[in-house]
């Protein structure tokens, strides 16, 4: 009882919401990636691996060039390259997309661990000095608003980027020609193909975009939040993003709501030192919540109709 009250009390602190938004934004980037990929009809469970690749690349690039912006770009590109493998295997070779995505995750884990071991002579960790990391932007004036100022206007630059991408993705998917075509390809690739739309180009593009976004998420993690690369440091964030995407019914804002729920869960966990229940038990809550929400509210019908089905022209 006491614990519940303590948790409720946390909700009235700006610190909790500030952290929740930061962690929510971290999940949002790969979740948006998953959304665009699956909207085009390619199932993507590889955000975990693409994020991990991005996190690694960001740290290494930053250590070499001392430039966070460049490191972030490199991270996005490395995520995109991983995604390209998934795209080739699942579009060109029509592989089972879940297996391919799973393979990406294992491969990325192996590759980044292998390389960090090689580079650090088996130290297994590479730290980035604070000076080269992604900065926190404190918006003048606005950040002085009580409560909201701290939550919304004292955030890492990547939080703003993620929110901008959220809005942009929503407009792109539902207001533009490109979005209409991506959705068409994900729903009924034959129909799109016969209308003269290049199914493969759009699917490759969407999958690569998912890699770019997940790579950004990785950079945010390793040079925005943690300032270090450790093997398997994503620790399931990509999978949580996947759950958030489904939770959000393959819609950007839906995914954002789900990411915030996870972010709040993680933030409570991080502020938990004063609460007298096991932090491990507390930690299971977001996962159990996801299962409950999946079971209770999200029907199968929300997924794009051709999600996960390879496309071959001329076959009905």
């Amino acid at each position: 009882m006491n614990a519940v009250l303590q948790i409720l009390g946390l909700f009235f602190t700006a610190g909790l919401w500030q952290l929740a938004l930061e962690l929510g934004a971290l999940l949002l980037l790969p979740a948006l990636g998953g959304t665009i990929s699956e909207r085009s009809g390619v199932v993507n469970i590889a955000m975990e691996g693409m994020m991990l690749t991005g996190a690694f690349t960001a740290v290494v690039t930053d250590l070499v060039w001392h430039n966070a912006l460049l490191a972030t770009l490199a991270a996005a590109i490395s995520g995109g390259l991983m995604a390209l493998i998934h795209a080739v295997v699942s579009i060109r070779f029509r592989a089972d997309q879940i297996i391919s995505g799973f393979a990406i995750n294992i491969f990325a884990f192996g590759l980044t661990t292998f390389l960090i071991d090689k580079m650090t002579n088996f130290q297994g960790a590479a730290h980035v000095p604070q000076a080269y990391t992604l900065p926190v932007i404190t918006v003048p004036v606005l950040s002085n608003i009580p409560f909201l100022g701290q939550v919304l206007f004292q955030q890492n630059i990547m939080v703003y980027v993620a929110l901008a991408l959220l809005v942009g993705m929503n407009i792109m998917l539902f207001r533009t020609r490109l979005g209409l075509r991506i959705r068409a390809v994900g729903e009924h690739p034959q129909a799109a193909d016969t209308a003269g739309i290049n199914v493969y180009t759009l699917r490759y593009g969407a999958v690569i975009a998912s890699g770019l976004l997940s790579g950004l998420g990785g950079a945010f993690l390793s040079i925005g939040i943690n300032n270090v690369f450790l093997p398997n440091m994503t620790d399931g964030a990509g999978y949580i993003a996947l759950a958030a995407m489904i939770f959000g019914k393959w819609k950007p804002f839906g995914a954002f709501v789900a990411c915030m729920i996870f972010g709040i869960g993680e933030a409570i966990y991080a502020n938990n030192s004063t609460i007298h229940i096991s932090q491990y038990l507390l930690n299971t809550l977001p996962y159990i919540l996801t299962i409950v929400v999946l079971a209770a509210f999200v029907g199968k019908s929300a997924a794009p109709a051709a999600d996960g089905l390879p496309y071959e022209p001329g076959v009905e």
């Binding site: 469970i45 493998i85 295997v89 699942s90 060109r92 070779f93 029509r94 592989a95 089972d96 879940i98 297996i99 391919s100 799973f102 393979a103 990406i104 995750n105 294992i106 491969f107 990325a108 884990f109 192996g110 590759l111 661990t113 292998f114 390389l115 071991d117 090689k118 088996f122 093997p231 399931g236 999978y239 996947l242 759950a243 489904i246 096991s278 491990y280 038990l281 930690n283 299971t284 996962y287 159990i288 996801t290 299962i291 999946l294 079971a295 209770a296 999200v298 029907g299 199968k300 996960g308 089905l309 390879p310 071959e312 001329g314 076959v315 009905e316």
Partner: protein, 421 residues
């Protein structure tokens, strides 16, 4: 794998008698897995080269460390082969069992990424029984402990089955979530929770001695020049092999297995045949969980004899996906690929310490094997290089009946797209 070309086997042509046809099929079944392993090793060699290592030395280390072969030369001459083989068998046992867990789910069209969580729940349940009834005699305690593991895993798998069957929640997501829940639950139990051994950190009290699986070698004697106690290999490997028989029989010789395979092909077809897809999915996941849970119980009774927190770094349940796929979800295949994966795992430490190539190469190899199985590069090559085929296939009139008259729809639709039902 069948292309319409096979439908052109003409009745009047000499039909191969049944046994050669079967052998042919076995041969075909071996080609793809072997090719994907070779592909993975080839790409791995390139990566080693680029990172400044020596692929031959590295692979020699993998095989010497894992299988006790090629242990020659200055680098590996001193490696104790029997000990390495014993270690590989220790890892093979849970891999076989979790491999069956993943494989039976695949046969029903389900992707069980939850082998790890089910294994952990099996380990927890068996430890609880092993600790709580520590004073029971071995003939009672050991079976009870194993059974508890089976039940623990089955419950964890069964949850996934029920959710999938009755709410449509995708098993990939629910199994991933349940893996985390299981790991945190384990951490809770041994970190300030009810199973923590007082005065110790993050470990439970030992299970009753009666619940320990016998070792394969006498602990007191000298075995292959080393004290018998260094060999961890235990009788659990026989349990795994018995389970292979059970797996095969269940899948291929029982009506339940028949129905599981039907559901995996097409749920509509299953309904037509009076098979409840929902109930079959639940049963499949219960069985899948049971196999993985038994793996956990065997780890408890054969290796740890308590509940350690170390499972948080265990990857058996994930490796099992590669084991099942490489083994083409068959009993023999799963055993063989479990041995391979275990050998890679065990050999990687020897490779790292002796050849200086990071052990995580093995994870890359696993990823590459999965890619190549998933993409089925071999089949794709054949399909896409028409030059390799005879240009226009004989224009002679097709034999009646076998003539694939429906080819406008069928011939190129040879993707296994039945999953959508």
């Amino acid at each position: 794998m069948t292309t319409p070309a096979t439908s052109q086997r003409r009745p009047q042509a000499p039909i191969a008698p049944e046994i050669p046809e079967r052998i042919q099929r076995v041969g075909k079944a071996l080609v793809a897995p072997l090719a994907s392993v070779l592909f993975a090793f080839a790409v791995g060699a390139i990566i080693i080269l680029f990172s400044g290592g020596n692929p031959i030395e590295a692979y020699q280390g993998l095989f010497c460390g894992g299988l006790g072969v090629f242990c020659t030369g200055d680098t590996y001459g001193s490696v104790a082969a029997p000990y390495r083989i014993s270690e590989t068998l220790v890892f093979t046992t849970p891999l076989i069992l979790t491999g069956f867990s993943v494989a039976i789910a695949f046969r029903a069209g389900l992707f069980n990424i939850g082998g790890e969580g089910q294994l952990i729940m099996g380990a927890i349940s068996s430890a609880v029984v092993g600790i709580h009834f520590a004073t029971w005699p071995g003939w009672l305690l050991l079976p009870a402990t194993l059974l508890a593991g089976i039940l623990g895993g089955a419950v964890w798998g069964g949850i996934v089955g029920v959710l999938k069957a009755y709410t449509g929640a995708h098993e990939v997501v629910t199994t991933i979530m349940l893996n985390y829940v299981a790991i945190f639950f384990l951490q809770y139990l041994v970190t300030g929770g009810p199973l923590q051994l007082p005065g110790q950190t993050q470990v439970s009290p030992p299970i009753g001695v009666g619940a320990n699986l016998p070792k394969l070698f006498p602990q007191a004697a000298q075995v292959f020049g080393l004290p018998g106690s260094v060999y961890r290999v235990h009788t659990g490997i026989f349990i795994a092999l018995i389970c292979a028989g059970i797996f095969y029989f269940l899948l291929m010789r029982t009506t339940l297995g028949y129905e599981i395979r039907a559901v995996g092909q097409s749920q509509r077809a299953a309904r037509y045949a009076g098979v409840s897809a929902q109930r079959t999915i639940v049963k499949t996941m219960l069985i899948a969980g049971a196999f993985a849970g038994l793996a956990g119980a065997i780890q408890t009774t054969g290796i740890y004899h308590n509940l350690p927190i170390g499972y948080q770094n265990d990857t058996t349940g994930f490796d099992a996906i590669g084991v099942a796929l490489l083994g083409q979800n068959s009993a023999i295949g799963v055993i063989l690929s479990a041995i391979l994966f275990a050998a890679l795992h065990v050999g990687s430490s020897v490779m790292q310490s002796n050849a200086g190539v990071p052990a995580s190469l093995v994870a890359m190899l696993q990823g590459l094997i999965l890619f190549s199985i998933a993409a089925n590069f071999l089949r794709s090559m054949k399909l896409r290089l028409p030059a390799l085929r005879q240009a226009p296939v004989g224009t002679a009139p097709l034999p009646p009946g076998v003539a694939a008259i429906e080819t406008e729809m069928d011939s190129s639709a040879e993707l296994d797209t039945d999953v959508k039902a």
